[in-house]
Amino acid sequence: MTIALRTLDDGAWISVNDSREVGVSDIWTLPGHEFCNCETPHVLLEAFSGVDLRGVDTHVIADAVGMCIDCGTRDGIDSLVVGRIVDGEFKRYEPGSVQRPSVAASGDR
C-alpha cells in the first residue's frame, strides 16, 4: 500500500494519507541532535520543509526549521523522526519524548 506523505499550507503540517498528523508549534526534545549547545535542545518547530519515509520499519522523517526555546538558536533540522508507519497506519511520536538521531538517521549516516 502506498503512503501519501506531504507537507502543506506552507509547511504548517505533515499530511499522511490526506489526514493532518503532525503540526508546527510544538516543542520537540532533541538530545544529541547537535542543534545547539544545550545539553537537551528543546526546539519549537516553526515550519516543515519536507517529509519522507525511511528504513525497513518505515520511519516518517521530516525536515523542519525550528528554534531552541532555551538558547534561541534557529536552524534547520534534518531527519526528525515524527512517527512511523505500522500496518499502513501512521503512529505519531510525542514531541516531548526522546529523539535520538541514531534512530532517525539509521538509513544514511
Binding site: L8, D9, G11, D18, V24, D26, A47, I69
Partner: protein, 591 residues
C-alpha cells in the same frame, strides 16, 4: 520534480473548481473522498475557502476581496447578513462573542466557521450584490489593495481606484493568469501620502510624472518584489518603468506572465517573485519584461512622490491612518472608524450599515490597518451619523494604543500560528490604555502582532513588532513574543529590527511600558520614536525594553495550539466537535 500542489493545479484549477464545490456542497462534507482531501482543500483556496486548523475539520475560513477595499452601498450589509446566517461557531469567543467578521490587512473580509454545505448559497448572496471570493487565497492575483479613500481624497494625483478596478476586472477569472507559482499581491497608490503600502507587495504602482514628447504626463512608476513572509522581508524594488494609466493593465499583465513563466514551481518556499528579483536583479527583470512580454517601448521611471509620503512614515506629525473625520475633495466627509483587531460584531455591523445608509451614501471602505471608513457624509450629517452608541466602540477618535493595534488570525484558526493573537492584543491595548501614558507629541504608535513569521499582521512595519514564539518560564514552556522596534513606511521604509527574543507574553505589556518610559527619558526634544530607534544599535535598544510582570494577566500562556479552540470550556483536541455535519452534529471517527 513538480510539487504535489503543482500537480493538483495542473489537473483542476481556476473556475473549473466551482462545479466541484457545488457537488461537495450538495452531497455534504463526508462526500469529499478521504484520499483527495489535501488536493481539494488546496484548490478551494482559489475560491477563497481555507480549511481551518487541526481540531476544526469541516469548518472553513472564507475571504471576500473587494478591490481597493471599496464596498459599494449594500455590499457591507450583505456581508453582515451572510455572517449572521452562516459564520457562527460551536462556542463563543470571550472578547468577541459568537458571530463577527474580520477586516484584514489586505482590505478584505474574512468569515470563519463556514460549512461547505452553505457555500453555494453564500456565493449566490455575494454575487447578487457584485461581490466574490474568487482568488482571495491560492496561487493567483489576490485582492488588489490601495489607498482606502482613492477617488475621494484631496491628496490624489492619479485615479488609483480606476486602476484597481481595471486590474481586478482583467485578472480575476483570467485563465492565462489563474495559476501562478505562488500568491500574487498587487497594490495601487494614487496619492502623495503613500497609503497603498506598495513597498510590501509583489507588484506596486506608485504615482509619478514624466515628461513625454514635451508634455507632462501623470501615471505610475512600477516596483516589484516586496513581501514580508518567512524571515525574508523585502521592499519592492524600482524596476525603472513609468507607465500611463492607459497602459498600466498591459504592463501588469506582462509582469504577471513573467512571474507565471519564470517563478520557481519546484520549491514553494522559493516561489515568490521577491526571490526571482533577488536572483535576477531589477535590470534583468526589466529586460526580460521588455523583450518577452511587452509590445511597446517601456518608458524609464518618472519623477515619483515618495519624498512626500507621510503614511506610517514615523514623523511625530505624520499622516493620520484615515481614522477620524476628514474632508473629501468634493466637500463631503469621510469618517474613519477604529475596529479593534479588525473584528466587527454582527449586531454592530447592522447598526453601522443603518447609519451609513441613513446619513451617507452607504458605501463602506476597508483599510490596511484593519479599520473601516464611511464615505460621502455631508457636513451637516456628521454629528447625526455619529450620534449612536455603536461609535463609542467603533470610534473615530480612539486612543492611540487602540488605533495603532493590529493582530493576525493566530492560533484561533490558523495552522501556522504559534500563539494566540487577537484576544491577547485586545487585552494588551486595554491594559496599555489604562496604565501607560504616551510621551508628549506621540499620537501615533503602531503595535502589530503576528502569530508566526508569515507576518500577516505586517509586524515589520510597526513601531513595536510582536511575533509569536515560545520560551520557558518557571520551568514550563509558555507562549512568548519576539519584540522588534522601529519599522515603518514612508520615503525610506524600514523593517523593524528584532531586538528582544522570546519575551513571555505576560511580560510584554510591562516591556512596552518600560520601553516608552525609557524613550521619554532619553529622547531629544521632539525626536520621534522611529528616529530614536534608528539612532541606536540593537543592544542598546534591548536594554531599554526590560520585560516585567505587571497587573496584566494573560489567560493564554499555555499551548493554545494544543486545543481545538483556545477559549472552549473543554478545550482539548479530543473534545473537538469537529468534523461535523452541516447541522453541527459531530461525525464519529471510524477508527
Amino acid at each position: 520534480m513538480p510539487t504535489d500542489v503543482e500537480e493538483w493545479k495542473d489537473e483542476i484549477y481556476g473556475t473549473d473548481i466551482r462545479d466541484h464545490i457545488e457537488r461537495f456542497a450538495e452531497d455534504g462534507w463526508e462526500s469529499i473522498p478521504d484520499d483527495e482531501k489535501d488536493a481539494w482543500f488546496e484548490r478551494f483556496k482559489w475560491y477563497g475557502l481555507y480549511h481551518q486548523r487541526a481540531g476544526q475539520e469541516s469548518y472553513f475560513m472564507m475571504r471576500i476581496g473587494p478591490p481597493g477595499g471599496v464596498l459599494e452601498p449594500g455590499q457591507f450589509r450583505r456581508i453582515v447578513e451572510i455572517a449572521d446566517e452562516y459564520a457562527r461557531g460551536p462556542v463563543s469567543n470571550p472578547e468577541f462573542g459568537n458571530g463577527w467578521l474580520d477586516v484584514t490587512t489586505r482590505q478584505a473580509i474574512q468569515l470563519h466557521w463556514i460549512r461547505i454545505e452553505d457555500v453555494p448559497d453564500i456565493f449566490e448572496a455575494l454575487e447578487d450584490v457584485g461581490l466574490s471570493t474568487v482568488q482571495a487565497c491560492g496561487d493567483s492575483w489576490r485582492n488588489i489593495v490601495g489607498c482606502p479613500v482613492a477617488g475621494k481624497d484631496k491628496h490624489e494625483h492619479v485615479d488609483a481606484a480606476a486602476l484597481a478596478d481595471d486590474l481586478h476586472d482583467t485578472f480575476k477569472k483570467n485563465e492565462a493568469h489563474s495559476n501562478l507559482p505562488r500568491k500574487w499581491k498587487v497594490s495601487v497608490t494614487g496619492c502623495d501620502e503613500g497609503c497603498g503600502q506598495g513597498d510590501i507587495n509583489d507588484l506596486a504602482f506608485e504615482p509619478a510624472e514624466k515628461v513625454i514628447d514635451g508634455e507632462t504626463v501623470t501615471g505610475y512608476n512600477v516596483r516589484v518584489g516586496g513581501g514580508l513572509a518567512r524571515n525574508e522581508p523585502r521592499f519592492a524594488k524600482n524596476i525603472d518603468v513609468f507607465v500611463t494609466p492607459e497602459r498600466a493593465v498591459e504592463v501588469a499583465g506582462g509582469i504577471s506572465a513573467l512571474f507565471r513563466d519564470h517563478g520557481d514551481r519546484e520549491n514553494r518556499y522559493n516561489a515568490r517573485i521577491k526571490f526571482l528579483v533577488d536572483e535576477w536583479g531589477p535590470e534583468k527583470l526589466r529586460d526580460v519584461l521588455q523583450e518577452e512580454y511587452i509590445d511597446f517601448k517601456l518608458e524609464t521611471a518618472g519623477e515619483d512622490l515618495r519624498h512626500s509620503y507621510s503614511y506610517n512614515a514615523g514623523d511625530a506629525d505624520g499622516k493620520h491612518d484615515h481614522v477620524g473625520v476628514y474632508e473629501q475633495d468634493d466637500g463631503n466627509n469621510y469618517i474613519g472608524l477604529n475596529v479593534l483587531m479588525g473584528r466587527l460584531g454582527i449586531d454592530d455591523g447592522y447598526e453601522i450599515a443603518d447609519a451609513a445608509e441613513e446619513h451617507a451614501s452607504g458605501e463602506v471602505r476597508l483599510t490596511q490597518r484593519q479599520n473601516i471608513i464611511l464615505t460621502d457624509v455631508q457636513d451637516d450629517k456628521v454629528d447625526a451619523l455619529l450620534d449612536n452608541p455603536v461609535f463609542d466602540e467603533y470610534s473615530p477618535d480612539p486612543h492611540p494604543f487602540q488605533r495603532g493595534s493590529i493582530a493576525c488570525t493566530g492560533s484561533e484558526f490558523c495552522s501556522l500560528s504559534i500563539v494566540e493573537t487577537k484576544n491577547r492584543q485586545v487585552r494588551f491595548s486595554r491594559w496599555l490604555v489604562d496604565n501607560v501614558s504616551l510621551p508628549e507629541g506621540v499620537e501615533d504608535f503602531h503595535i502589530h502582532l503576528s502569530g508566526c513569521t508569515a507576518s500577516c499582521a505586517q509586524p515589520q512595519i510597526a513601531d513595536v513588532s510582536l511575533r509569536g514564539m515560545k520560551t520557558r518560564k518557571d520551568g514550563e514552556p509558555v507562549e512568548a513574543l519576539d519584540i522588534g522596534l522601529g519599522g515603518g513606511l514612508g520615503e525610506n521604509p524600514q523593517f523593524a529590527s528584532w531586538v528582544s527574543d522570546r519575551v513571555p507574553a505576560d511580560e510584554v505589556p510591562g516591556a512596552i511600558e518600560n520601553l516608552l518610559a525609557n524613550f521619554d527619558d532619553a529622547r531629544e526634544d521632539g525626536e520621534s520614536f522611529r528616529e530614536f530607534v534608528a539612532a541606536r544599535d540593537d543592544e542598546e535598544l534591548a536594554d531599554l525594553i526590560e520585560p516585567e510582570e505587571t497587573s496584566y494577566e494573560d489567560p493564554f500562556m499555555h499551548n493554545t495550539k494544543q486545543t481545538w479552540y483556545p477559549y472552549a470550556e473543554e478545550d482539548g483536541l479530543d473534545d473537538s466537535p469537529a468534523p461535523a455535519r452541516a447541522d453541527g452534529t459531530p461525525i464519529p471517527s471510524d477508527d
